[in-house]
Symmetry: C2
Subunit: 295 residues, 2 copies
């Protein structure tokens, strides 16, 4: 990762924080408690991997800032809502997220449920209200709908639920993560790219290969971290997957082979970007970030 | 209510059932259990008041069937997801809905959570994929986002949550219901109208007056039925509001004054339609249906 990437990342993360503030409903508008809880769930937390992917892909295609910014906030709101619901007692029952009490701990379960529901609606609203023309935004809204719904993120969650205590094989585990985490990561890359110039079929294919590789790498690294890092470093409860008897890359492949797989996937992601040349440097470095992260 | 209305209603309800089947993800596609639970939550139930409003308003403005059908399914999916989440133990904790076990009783809480989440995404997707041009659909998607999010339905739910055991006055109760139920009923009417020709400011205003009146009437009648009907007739648990110590029109005004208010609101709704003449007959009759319903 270059110095230029590090400073771009910090600047983009700061810009995303400002944009999230702007595109969340104001906490001074009624219903205030709900709006405060929505802000609590979204602001001051996370590495903003998905927004970074949106902006890095947008850079490749000269995308306008306002549309990128709204697309980045939309995917981050979808991601944040999924974490809020995922942490609830009927799902993963987790008390800690991004180093803070989870929403249902800080508020209550009913509020957490509504926060997630309202954040999902807000995501579609924020993207739909961008200044770009309707023809430009509509395929982006469709992609967001597919990536977050039953054949995307929610579908992956459903497979995850059904897999507790079940002996998934490697292709089944991969399919689960392709939906659960991969669909929204892919949407982040494509939404960034679609914010700019129209994409050729080859460009879509290259971005899809990149997305598939970083999507799986993300999950492999998650499993490695869950097995090796402590809760304070992760900002969430460590060791949960083993405790919950969930299949992971580490349980299927072992720790060393999982680390090697992550490196291989990072290499695949870099390869997929070769046609874009130097302008894909930030996407290239984001693959490194995903694999080398410590939390 | 005329015979022509009765037969139109039955035909429309049957068409909506077919369309919901068509626009829900197929239960033969993975993840099947999630798709089955989504279908369980949406199909074979309810009076389809919101789809009827979409079609009745669409009739006024020569709207194309496919767009109307998708708009109707989108609002019904939003409505169905809100019921699924509302019935969960952390909200109203209800075991019975539309005469069937609620989703978390039939499946489990985690599935109910995901069913609601996936239905919301599906609603936006179904509307966004209509054949109409992007310029036509985009304002409709924006309206759906506002009506279902934190300044619409979810916001109303949040106010409702905060009002348990609190002495709301009549304007506060009205504001809660304007969001909780009214926003999506208004969206149904406007989405139907917007599916057709562009609306004048006067037409929007008249439809807004109509929607506001039927929205409140709907809730007043709900409160009357909750206090007077039995669970078998309602298809859901009766007497819950009083048991939960929630403010209602009946608790604030008494039974007789609540019934009179519903009649007055029905009259107001009819008045608001006067400029549209005979072509608004089905909207006129839907106001009667909402006030005269027994469940």
């Amino acid at each position: 990762m270059t110095n230029s990437f590090q400073s771009w990342m910090k600047e983009t993360q700061a810009n995303v924080e400002v944009a999230l503030h702007q595109y969340l409903p104001s906490t001074s508008t009624a219903p205030q408690k709900l709006h405060e809880a929505m802000a609590y769930a979204v602001l001051d937390g996370g590495k903003r991997v998905r927004p970074l992917l949106v902006f890095a892909a947008g850079k490749l295609f000269d995308a306008p800032q306002e549309l990128l910014s709204r697309a980045a906030c939309a995917v981050e709101m979808i991601h944040a809502y999924s974490l809020v619901h995922d942490d609830m007692p009927c799902m993963d029952d987790d008390a800690l997220r991004r180093g803070k009490p989870t929403v249902h701990k800080q508020y209550d379960e009913a509020t957490a449920l509504l926060v997630g529901d309202a954040l999902q609606a807000q995501a579609f609203l924020v993207l739909s209200e961008a200044q770009a023309c309707a023809d430009h935004k509509l395929p982006m809204l469709q992609l967001l709908g597919k990536a977050s719904g039953s054949i995307g993120m929610c579908g992956g969650q459903a497979i995850d639920l059904a897999s507790v205590g079940v002996a998934l094989n490697l292709p089944e585990l991969e399919q689960m993560h392709r939906l659960k985490t991969g669909a929204l990561l892919r949407a982040s890359v494509l939404l960034g790219a679609m914010s700019g110039k129209p994409l050729s079929a080859d460009e879509v294919q290259a971005l899809d290969q990149y997305s598939a590789a970083i999507g799986l790498a993300f999950q492999v690294v998650d499993d490695v971290l869950d097995a090796t890092a402590d809760s304070a470093t992760l900002g969430k409860t460590a060791g949960k997957d083993a405790a919950d008897n969930k299949p992971t890359y580490v349980s299927l492949l072992g720790l060393e082979a999982s680390r090697q797989l992550a490196d291989q996937l990072c290499h695949d992601a870099h390869q997929a970007l070769s046609a874009f040349g130097a302008s894909a440097q930030y996407l290239h470095d984001l693959a490194d970030l995903i694999v080398q992260r410590k939390a």
